[in-house]
């Protein structure tokens, strides 16, 4: 059982590391998608099917697309790879990495982890719905408002052009 976990973790972390080291941004995104798939496999291994498939749906289906489109729309040509690195950039990168790692580690260390050897609760969609609409209703509403604002913002940004009088003609 632990060997499976080790393989999943190795694939996830290794593909993330390879993605960081690629010069070609599109390659890094595609490899990063492999890392996200590894996280989904981990959720599946841990017995949380719903979370695993939601991870695939959101990360592989949507976020990877957003990243690919962002790269395609901002690069001038397909050979436009990331520029040569400088010492200054390396220092900033390491500092940012250390800061993020410190925040994550602090959060993990301060969370009480109680190991319960009980069977996992049978998670039905109904219970998931009750949990989301009950004890986590506030978080759900906040996320909903955030997404709505983002959607309206995207529409406003995209609708900047004056309407084309020829549009809609047969």
């Amino acid at each position: 059982m632990n060997a499976v976990l080790a393989v999943i973790a190795l694939v996830t972390v290794a593909s993330a590391a390879v993605a960081l080291s690629r010069r070609n941004l599109l390659h890094s995104i595609l490899i990063l998608a492999g890392s996200w798939a590894g996280v989904a496999v981990f959720y599946f291994w841990a017995g949380s099917q719903f979370l695993a498939f939601a991870q695939v749906l959101v990360y592989l289906g949507a976020i990877s697309m957003a990243a690919l489109f962002a790269v395609l729309l901002t690069r001038h040509s397909r050979d436009d790879v990331a520029g040569a690195s400088s010492h200054q950039r390396a220092v900033y990168a390491i500092l940012t990495g250390i800061a993020v790692a410190a925040v994550l580690l602090a959060a993990v260390a301060r969370t009480p982890l109680t190991v319960r050897p009980s069977a996992p609760p049978p998670l039905s969609v109904r219970e998931l719905g009750y949990t989301l609409m009950g004890s986590h209703a506030a978080a759900l509403l906040v996320v909903g408002v955030l997404l709505t604002v983002a959607l309206i913002g995207a529409v406003v940004l995209a609708a900047g052009d004056p309407p084309d009088p020829k549009e809609g003609e047969p």
């Binding site: 595609l30 998608a33 719903f50 695939v56 749906l57 289906g61 697309m65 397909r78 109904r126």
Partner: protein, 400 residues
């Protein structure tokens, strides 16, 4: 596949009995592996053959619709045509552009085909024939479907051809647009059944209202509207006419498949047909009662027989629509998705909620329930349709 109950008829249990006869002598751990391998092999063989004859049936039917015979030279009535095509595809030269991204160019069709094959795993083909009965089977199906977009992008980008890349962007715009109404039309089904498991959804559609009308989702107001939205969206998701813009033979070169030839092209073709079969199978499961028979008197026909019949009927509709409707333009296509299907699917969700809340209404209130539910979806349908086609329809066509 679960163990067969002994109350079923012999035909119902026949596939399980045949499988157990083959693998019964193996020790317990090996038996599970052997059973799984047999299931996979059977699924691949069945859908491979279905793919082969679906291409033939499509060409034959399209031919008949256009008043020509269709392929009729290879074997009786052209029955061996798909195999001749297979040999042709296998022996064709595989051209890879020198400037292309070789690895991605190779991986794209493989990823697309494998992602469309794994969706077959959760469809209940019969009473005891669910290859993998997942708790979140519906979500699995659509997650695997949404991951195919990555491989389309890979195909377009790896070809190092601006037309292929542009066409891949168009294909992605179409797939992403229609995924929304597709998923939204499925939500009421999950709401009504209270489960994401495909076999649970089929179980929820058991029985007959007044002894004759099967309690399939398609016979409820939200199910009928949802099925219509699902069907239109699945036409678009599987690149079928009238939504076959990604690979519009008569207008574009071949879309994101421009730089593909030989067997890789055949793999894309196969993935498209597999996707169509999988979406039809999901449509049968979600709305048409899955493997259930329409009449109690017809239950002597085994469940997998009913599933096959319904699947073939839906696939026939796909071909029929291809023969009937002209292709949409890209702006009409995205407008249909965002301005028409998505709002209607959201309204349909509201109607499903009303239907679930008014489940206790009886007597004359039953009629009011139907009237209110139909009004909830019919009024926005008419208003939206009128509003969106203002200034565009009715069109006058002048023929030269």
């Amino acid at each position: 596949m679960s163990a067969a109950a002994h109350t079923d008829s012999f035909l119902e249990r026949a596939p399980l009995l045949a499988r157990d006869f083959i693998t019964g002598r193996l020790p317990e751990p090996a038996r599970w592996t052997a059973n799984t391998l047999i299931t996979i092999a059977l699924l691949l063989a069945a859908f491979g053959l279905l793919f082969a004859f679906l291409t033939l049936a499509e060409r034959k039917i399209l031919g008949r619709v256009q008043n020509r015979p269709g392929p009729n030279r290879t074997g009786w009535f052209g029955l061996l045509q798909p195999f001749a095509d297979g040999v042709k595809m296998l022996t064709k030269e595989d051209l890879v552009p020198r400037a292309s991204d070789q690895v991605l160019h190779y991986l794209a069709p493989v990823a697309l085909l494998s992602l469309s094959i794994i969706t077959f795993a959760v469809i209940p083909y019969g009473r005891h024939m669910v290859p993998v009965d997942l708790d979140a089977g519906v979500l699995y199906f659509f997650a695997a479907g949404s991951a195919t977009e990555l491989s389309i992008f890979m195909a377009g980008w790896a070809s190092h051809n601006k037309y292929a890349l542009l066409a891949a962007m168009r294909a992605l715009a179409q797939l992403i647009s229609y995924e929304l109404p597709l998923l939204l039309s499925v939500v009421p089904v999950v709401l009504a059944a209270g489960t994401l498991s495909t076999s649970g959804i089929v179980d929820a559609q058991h029985g007959w209202a007044w002894g004759v009308v099967p309690r399939w989702n398609v016979f409820t107001p939200w199910g009928a509207a949802g099925f219509a939205i699902f069907f239109v969206s699945s036409l678009a998701e599987s690149n079928r006419s009238p939504f076959d813009l990604p690979e519009a033979e008569s207008e574009l070169i071949a879309g994101h498949l421009t730089e593909y030839s030989g067997f890789k092209y055949a793999l894309f073709f196969m993935a498209e047909y597999f996707g169509m079969c999988a979406l039809s199978g999901m449509g049968v499961t979600l709305f048409l009662g899955g493997w259930r028979s329409p009449l109690a008197a017809l239950e002597f026909i085994p469940s997998y027989g009913w599933f096959t019949l319904k699947l073939l009927a839906l696939l026939g509709c796909f071909i029929w629509i291809r023969a009937t409707l002209p292709r949409l333009r890209i702006d009409q296509l995205t407008r249909l998705a965002w301005k028409f299907l998505v709002p209607l699917a959201l309204v349909n969700l509201g109607m499903a909620a009303f239907w679930a809340l008014s489940a206790g209404w009886a007597g004359p209130l039953q009629l009011a329930r139907w009237a209110v539910a139909l009004a909830i979806v019919a009024v926005p349908f008419l208003l939206l349709g009128r509003r969106l086609s203002r200034g565009v329809a009715p069109r006058t066509y002048r023929y030269a």
